[in-house]
Subunit: 347 residues, 2 copies
């Protein structure tokens, strides 16, 4: 029932004979250095897109800073100086207060719930609307397993220990820690090590153990904290210039979205089994693995609710996005609770 | 930085001029009638594969029984009578005792954990090895949110209520219920309604509310139970004849695997928000939504452990597959526990 497999042969013939099936090359500026799964994810996107399109969609990945500085990726893509970007939505808080919600929501969804909100709960539609004034189309392209809570030179024993702490954390997490007295900063990932080493920073969050261990922080910071309250689930964004996007065929856009969705399933899967070995290396370097005291987590949660209320008050898109998430969340949790094997269903 | 967008134009020109970029058509026999998200998933796979390949990979979906009966899909694909199949691994327990583990593991992984085991924990490699003697290559192609525990004419109040119960449940779940006195059967989904109506069955499991509600069981069965202990996470399999698979280009295989992986992210996301409305319809039909008593769940869990021990004893591939899952599971749980926001990390 299979037609004769003439496809490969005829495509080769066409390419050779016609010489016209020209690859379309796009410059893709990453906001990150090529480290750990962040680097792997963007390269996997580019490679897989090339494979699936038979070489016709060719994204050339540039490491952090090659064509545009990390914190200028959104603008550069929108202006068309570069075709595409790879970054983290939390970086754009200053331009669009709702953007961080598409990077991660503190005390919010775990990775699977985050994916469900974006793909089926209305999240992606709002995200695209949010970036439209920047002339950029965002696509979630590789979600991440829950992050670590971060690296701290000194142990965190009470909420007072946040007082005056110079801590690298972007997005909403930064605003939350600021409420508790910390001094947050949004240093790009590539500049953090030196800042820690020179004492400019007292600590930082970056990712999860498999990513963090590649940075060498374990050689210069003593305490590694959990849980990652600021990013229980979150991920990377692929940014494409809107004119470039609109100029693509439906099939090309479908290819990009399909590869990105496969990146999501893949990055969550790979991420899930990479942490243990990395954590062991971090322990072996003499780092203390610690859990935030319950009292500190409770204070962070209260501060998060305050930040969300304030941002909602100040910004219409923020309010719409968080309300979309919250309404999706109630439905989602209801079925998860009903189907819990170990605990009684909530009534 | 984008090359001139000559691609679409030149491809059109090539197709018209050369007339040679021939679509490759494959017959894809589903084991299911076209209902709910099972139908949507296979159609989404076919449509998306067509879109992404520019029409070159053309899977034609046939509903249950059109080219081969549901329980003969594996053999028919292997023999090359049909190119591809869409089914559930639990159906092949009689041919390959380990197969059900790739459909779902009772009291085992939730959907995200199941995906992680298959994609990154070694599961898929063992699955492909298992089907090799059948001349078939399996690919996970749309995982499912946790199922319901099933429909029961009479309430289940104690373990004794399973005694003599004619219940439709396949795979390992059937063996587990058999240990507790039930009489399990593997009726294809399309034949269950009549069997319930005529009293040939006292109950059945099928899927989750959004799928179950499409069957009309709510009109003829009084009790709907949770949790779905037999399938906390699981999914559909795409089966491709091995000669067909080997005859494809790397790019074609990458396309199929990429679309299937995107189907996984998509089906988990869509599944997550479809249940609430469906459950309401089921309630509105007068069905009692119930939870298995803890005592019954504990008995089911013990029986599951016995079944897994026996199957491991009797079958080498079963033992290898379950050991692969268990070793992956320990690593996976360890990070999830460390990063739990609400409960203290286990020490």
């Amino acid at each position: 029932m299979k037609l004769k497999s003439t496809l490969a042969a005829s495509l080769t013939a066409l390419t050779v004979a016609g010489g016209a099936a020209q690859a379309e090359e796009f410059a893709l500026q990453s906001a990150f250095p090529d480290l750990g799964v962040l680097g792997t994810s963007v390269n996997r996107f580019a490679d897989r897109t090339r494979d699936v399109s038979g070489g016709e969609l060719d994204f050339r990945v540039y490491e952090a800073g090659k064509l545009a500085p990390p914190l200028e990726v959104l603008d550069s893509v929108g202006l068309g100086a570069i075709d595409a970007g790879w970054s983290y939505a939390g970086y754009w808080a200053g331009k669009a207060p709702a953007a961080p919600l598409f990077g991660s929501i503190p005390f919010g969804p775990d990775p699977m719930k985050f994916a469900a909100w974006l793909y089926a709960g209305g999240g992606l539609e709002i995200w695209r609307e949010l970036y439209e004034p920047f002339n950029v189309v965002p696509t979630p392209c590789g979600l991440l397993v829950s992050e670590a809570g971060g690296w701290f030179n000194e142990p965190i024993e009470t909420v007072e220990d946040f007082q005056g702490l110079n801590f690298r954390i972007g997005g909403l997490g930064g605003k939350v820690m600021e409420k508790l007295g910390a001094v947050p900063s949004s240093l790009p990932a590539g500049e953090v090590y030196v800042a820690l080493e020179t004492g400019k920073l007292d600590g930082t969050e970056l990712g999860y153990p498999a990513l963090d261990v590649t940075t060498g922080y374990q050689d210069i910071v003593e305490n590694y904290y959990f849980p990652g309250w600021h990013q229980p689930g979150g991920g990377m964004e692929l940014l494409i210039n809107k004119d470039v996007w609109d100029g693509m065929t439906d099939g090309q856009r479908a290819t990009i979205e399909t590869v990105c969705q496969s990146n999501t399933a893949w990055s969550l899967s790979v991420g899930a089994i990479q942490q243990e070995e990395a954590l062991q290396k971090i322990k072996d370097a003499g780092v203390n693995i610690r859990r935030f005291p319950d009292e500190v987590l409770a204070a962070l949660r209260t501060a998060t609710e305050e930040v969300i209320a304030e941002e909602s008050e100040n910004d219409e898109m923020f309010r719409r996005a968080i309300e979309s998430y919250q309404s999706f969340s109630a439905t989602y949790d209801s079925y998860v609770d009903l189907n819990r094997i170990d605990a009684p269903a909530s009534e």
